[in-house]
Amino acid sequence: MALKEYSFTLNGKPVVVRAPPAYDLLDTLRDVLGLTGTKNGCSEGECGACTVLMNGKAVHSCLTIMEQVRGADVVTIEGLASDPESQVLLRRFAEEGAVQCGYCTPGVVMASKALLMRNPMPSAEETKEALRGNLCRCTGYSKIVKAVMKGGT
């Protein structure tokens, strides 16, 4: 396999990574960069576990190839964990018990972050709409919705 070099911004810092061009961002994050917070649930854009922010928008990292990441600004769950403002959101997930097995949680949090960036006080309907692409098999969603509706970014 031929590797190419890709420069982009990851969690606020410039990175250069060597990867095959059709490698997806998810595999690159996990296997090349060692950032395993972003999860692989389905590899086909159905479950939302691989959600990251690319240029401020939530996208499936499993359906984004490295050639599309060149020069982009990517934020993963690790980026939120080290951002004081986003820690409020993470704490609310913990307080509300919006986490059970935890596998979907990074993707749910990233989708919630994308919602809160444009709408800091979403209604239940707006929250459900924004999270329609994130599957969770444990929580039944209501605690997730509660956590997100507490607002903040």
């Binding site: 396999m1 031929a2 095959p20 061009p21 059709a22 490698y23 997806d24 590899s43 086909e44 854009g45 159905e46 939302g48 959600t51 928008k57 939530a58 996208v59 499936h60 499993c62 359906l63 984004t64 190839i65 050639e67 599309q68 060149r70 989708a111 994308a114 919602l115 924004a130 329609r132 692409g133 994130n134 599957l135």
Partner: protein, 293 residues
């Protein structure tokens, strides 16, 4: 099980001109948002082909008002289509298809041109574009040509497009104040789902109550391509659109469709849902046509 794409070569041209030159020189599979192409490449046998990644061609991302027409660049993502006040005002069925299309992760990436080129009979943008009588612009290194959307789809996954061509623009006449549109789809669940049936319609109001003088009705996921329903359109415009006429026009869609049975529903179920959705669309437009909203 999903296949690794680590041996696939990718070219990422910086401009449309460069993209068309590359397409003229060698064989590629085009990737825009990637939300259909990557899934297909991972689950099927991979023919020995290169990818032409056009996602970075920002010159194909626009929604432009041009006199009586709206022009949409083919790489405009579905989220931008759903968020556009101009599309909502002048092409309501297309905005509604954008609302229904899928999750924000999907619609931030998926493009209108990709939805057309993927050519699925259940593609949500396609019935609205039939009912808007849209025209596609297709370009190659040799030049451009325009194709009415209804002539673009020639059969199941068969397009009037050569391997060296790209869809660059979708345009249509803006709906006027006396035209009413509606897109409805039926899915097996509310979140991420592929349409079992989709119906789009644009009706032009006449001067008297419940009178409509023109209609374009198109159905998705009920035939190898999206289909217009000429018999229904005729019935809608033949007289006052009362309850009986709405029922007749809805039933008449059955003359135009030939749905298959698959995991999402039987042919019989699709036939019934196509009639019901058409009826609901007509009812919705009848109510709005009376209220003047």
């Amino acid at each position: 099980m999903s296949l690794s794409l680590s041996d696939v070569e990718v070219d990422s041209p910086a401009t449309l001109t460069e993209a068309l030159q590359l397409l003229g020189r060698s064989k590629y599979r085009v990737i825009a948002g990637g939300t259909d192409v990557l899934i297909r490449m991972r689950t099927g046998p991979i023919p020995n082909e290169k990818l032409l990644n056009i996602y970075q061609l920002d010159e194909l991302r626009y929604i432009r008002s041009d006199g009586e027409r709206l022009r949409i660049g083919s790489l405009t993502c579905i989220a931008d289509i759903a968020a556009s006040p101009e599309i909502r005002r002048f092409a309501l069925p297309l905005a509604q298809a954008g609302d229904e299309f899928g999750s924000m992760q999907l619609t931030n990436k998926a493009t209108i041109g990709g939805n057309l080129a993927n050519a699925s009979p259940s593609g949500d943008c396609i019935p609205p574009l039939y009912s808007l009588d849209a025209v596609l612009t297709v370009a190659s290194a040799g030049g451009k040509r325009e194709i009415p959307v209804k002539d673009f789809f020639r059969g199941y996954k068969k397009l009037d497009m050569r391997p060296e061509e790209l869809i660059t623009e979708i345009s249509f006449r803006k709906m006027a104040g006396d035209e009413y549109g509606q897109y409805l789809r039926h899915t097996l669940r509310l979140g991420e789902a592929i349409s079992v049936v989709g119906v789009s319609m644009c009706l032009k109001k006449g001067p008297t109550r419940d009178e409509y003088v023109a209609a374009r009705i198109a159905l998705g996921a009920v035939a190898p391509t999206v289909m217009r329903a000429p018999k229904s359109e005729e019935i809608v415009t033949q007289g006052t659109l009362d309850e009986a006429r709405m029922r007749d026009a809805s039933k008449a869609v059955l003359e135009s469709i030939s749905p298959i049975t698959d995991v999402r529903g039987t042919g019989e179920y699709r036939r019934e849902m196509a009639v019901n959705l058409t009826y609901r669309g007509l009812r919705e437009i009848q109510a709005r046509g009376r209220g003047g909203t």
